[in-house]
Every structure is written in structure tokens, then in C-alpha cells.
Amino acid sequence: MTVGKNLWVIILIKLFILFVILRLFFFHDYLGSKFTSEKDKSNYVIEQLTK
């Protein structure tokens, strides 16, 4: 396999791991997964910062 093909394979595997496996299964948007509105998110953060 040429160096170019090797690199394309690595890029594709890496992007799959990063954007499919890690993003979908391990790295949820913490506030986005708990709250739907911006107001709820800000209330939560204020509560966290002032508790």
C-alpha cells in the first residue's frame, strides 16, 4: 500500500472513532442532554456556581 492510501485509511478510521464512537456514545453535550431550553441551562449553571 502506498503512503497516500495508508494515510487515507488512518484518516477515515480516526474520523469514525472520533465522530461516531466517541461523540455518540461517550461525549454527550452535558447541558444539552439534561435541558432543552437556554433558560433552564442558565438556571442550572447559576445554581451550580452559587451553591
Binding site: I17, D29, L31, K41, S42, I46, Q48
Partner: protein
Amino acid sequence: MEHIDFSLVNWSRAQFALTAMYHWLFVPLTLGLSFIVAFMETLYVRTGNPEWKRITKFWMTIFGINFAIGVATGIILEFEFGTNWSNYSWFVGDIFGAPLAIEGIMAFFLESTFIAVMFFGWNKVSKKFHLLSTWLVAIGSNLSALWILVANAWMQNPVGMKFNPDTARNEMVNFWEVLFSPVAINKFLHTISSGYVLASIFVIGVSAWYLLKNREHLFAKRSIIVAATFGLVTTAFVVLTGDGSARNMAKYQPMKFAAMENLYVGVQNAPLVAIGILKEDAKEASHKKQDFRFEIEIPNMLSYMAFLDPNAYVPGIKDLVHGNPERQILSYKEKSELGKIAITSLAEYKNAKNAGNDSLANAAKIRFEENYSYFGYGYYAGRDVHELIPSVATTFYSFRIMVGLGVHFGLLFLVVLLLTVKDKIAKKRFILYTMLWSIPLAYIASELGWVVAEVGRQPWVIQDILPTIAAVSQLKPASVQITFWMFFLIFTALLIAEIKIMTKQIKKGPGEDESSTKSASVNN
């Protein structure tokens, strides 16, 4: 903030440090090699000598390997912001988002569009358009670095924003103040120029390997001439911008500056410890105060470095922690009390707003705004304020090793350049081995620069405003540990792949171009 899970905070910090340090293994070579390749191709276009084309294409392949394996590793840092540091992500709001969005739209597209021409456009576009593409890739790569470094500089010196207590977000009020803050400008220039030095060391190191193997003499010598010249000029620039960094640090992050110098008691005419060995002072174990077992000082140098005045007073760790009324320095205890007022006022403001009591809300808002600059200290009210001292030994040694290696690189570029110009380099095997073994040293120096910048500012995520203990998401420490080890495996695999592919390509050598190398030797 009474119940702090330090296991969670420390694992989240460790994960961020791990990903940032691995990411930084790829970035500086991209930043520097892109310009070195552009210089080489310029020489090819100007002279028409096919040997320069062969040289350009080889280093372009090395650039391509590093770029392909390193690209998108930084995106994980953004994942971590949203997951592990959600309070922080919300709190910084558009201040962080705007520079990163500009990076994505402007620099990344510029870079990725022209990188295709650079790699696949040989003999398909004109020489001049190809050269332009190579330069635009170099400029685009470095512009990408600008925006992320502006965001980092804002965390070290938060300016150009106003906190909105209704949304709990910092809102940008002056984009130019954020972009042109002295910390941002200096950080950008210092960081990219350190990348140029690393790439120059990489090129002369690989070229030295060819000379040691008695291969590709012309290729190696020409590569050395370009890289050593670039490295020598940019080392001088790194020294200049490093000097600027020290002054910014003394002004905006005096604790980091004092820790970096192991300066416990502030003095006028402060000397700089050029070389020193620390030992822990048992008498003040609670501070983990370090004394010097051995030191070599340069008189007045620290005062000059910090304030361009050899007689200037430089505050020490003790002055910053316990205060110094003579010098109008508030103690951390006083600051933590003011910060506590800010935190309590924010809660009162929110409660009064919810209750519809506008007069109470306005009074709380005024109190909050008066004390906002101490907001982060409020989390240490009632706690041991010594938690606000970063690791002195880590910062002290990292700085000295980085500077020592920087001096080594500068001298090496000078010696190597002179020997190559006199055509004596191939016989100096000790110098050739030094060039080769300086490659890992360049990576160590580059990483240590970040250690000084980031460990030295602990515990702040945003200087004086948000510490790590308040910025972290309330996750289970075990989940952060799992992803920590996952990243460790992924990045290690990428690093092994990079080293393997690169060494294979280097062993293979520049090879023959479609243009005959015979004509190159004629033109030599």
C-alpha cells in the same frame, strides 16, 4: 461550594492535559514545516532547479503524514469542553465560540482547499499557482493557530467581555480587545515561532541522519541551509516573544510568575535564578515552600525581565497569598471574601428576579458587579488559600529546561549553518548526532512551554474568575477515567502510526522525481 469531588476534578484535568499534550505533538511540526516547504518551493520556482523540486516534494510528503495523522485530534478538546467542563463552556459563552467559529470558517477552509492543490496539483496547475497554494496552506495553518490561541489567551487574561447575570454567560463587548490583547498577540507569536524552531530542528535532524548514512548529500545540505537559517531567525524571535510573555505574566498572572521563579518573598532588584535545584523546606511544609539547595543568580535580572526596570519590586508567593499593604496587594483571604460577596450576590440577584423584586435585584447586581473581578476567589472562602498556589517545582523546572533547550537550539542552528556553508558538516559526526538527537529535545521543549503556561496558572480555568473546581461537570469520575484511557490508547496508536510511516518514508528517501537528478547535479 462545600462538597468538591477532587477525584473528578483531577481526572478531568488529567484527561484535558493528556489530549492537549498529544495534540501538540502534531501541531508545531505542521506550523513550521508548512513554511519551510514554502521556502523550498519558492527556491524551486525562482531557480528552476529540479533538485529543489525533489527536496520540496519530500518534505511535503513528511508534512502530509504529520497533517493527516494529527488533523482533528484537537476536536476532542472541544468534546471535552461540552462534556467534562459544561459549567465553563456555558460561562464563557460566545467569547470562546467566536474565535473557534472564525477558525472553522476562515482558516480551516483556506487550509483544506489549498492543501488539495498542494498535494495533487503538481503538473496540473501552473508553477506559480502551485507555489501560491503552498504559501496559503502555510498561512492558513498558522491562522488556525491564531484563533485557538486567542481563546487560550483570553482565559489567561479575560478582557473585552461583560458577564450577564441573567444568562450566566460572559458576553463579548469588544472583539478587538479580545483579539489584540497583549497576552493574545504575544501568545500567538511565541507559540507559532516555537513551532518554527521545532520544525527546523526536525528538518536538520532528519538531514543529519542522511549524512550519517552517507546518503543524499546534496539534498541534506540544501535542506539544512533552509531549515537552519529559518531556525536561527525564529529562535531569535522566540527569545523576543518569550521576553514579552514574561512581562505579561508578571503583570496579569503574578502568582504564575512568582511560582516560575520560586520567589517566595517579594524583593526589589530581584535576581533571576539561571540554574537552581530546589529542596522542600520542612519548616513550612503546609505551603510546600521550596528553598534552593543550589542556585546561580543573575543580579537584578528578574526585576528587569518583569518590568524593564532593574530596581523594580517583584511580588513573591507570600506577598500574594498573605497580602502586602505597603504594595497595595490584597491577600487571598481578602480576595476570597470579596469573591464570596460576588457569588452570594449572584444568587440573591437570581432569587430577587424570580420573586419579581426589582429593587432588591438591582442592589444585588451592583454588589455583584463591584466584586466580579474576584468571583473565582469566592470558591476558596473558608478553605486553605494555599490551594491557589500552583506546583512551584513543575513550573520552575519546566521553564528552565525549556529555556536551556532553546539556547541549545539557537547555538546548534548557528554552528550547523556555518559548517554547511563551509561544506564541512558531513565530516562532523558528533554535530550530526547532536542534530539527530535534538529532535526529541525539541518536542520536550515545546511541551514544557505549555506546562509552564498551563500548570503555572492553576487552579484557574479563567484567571481570577473561574477555578477548575467550579468549572467541572458533575459526572461520575469513573466515566472520565474510562475516556481518559480510551484517549490514551487512541493517541498512542496514532503516534505509533505517525512514527512508523514517517520513518519508513525517511528511510525510503526523496527518491527520483520525473526530472532527472543528473540535471540537478549539473545545476549544483
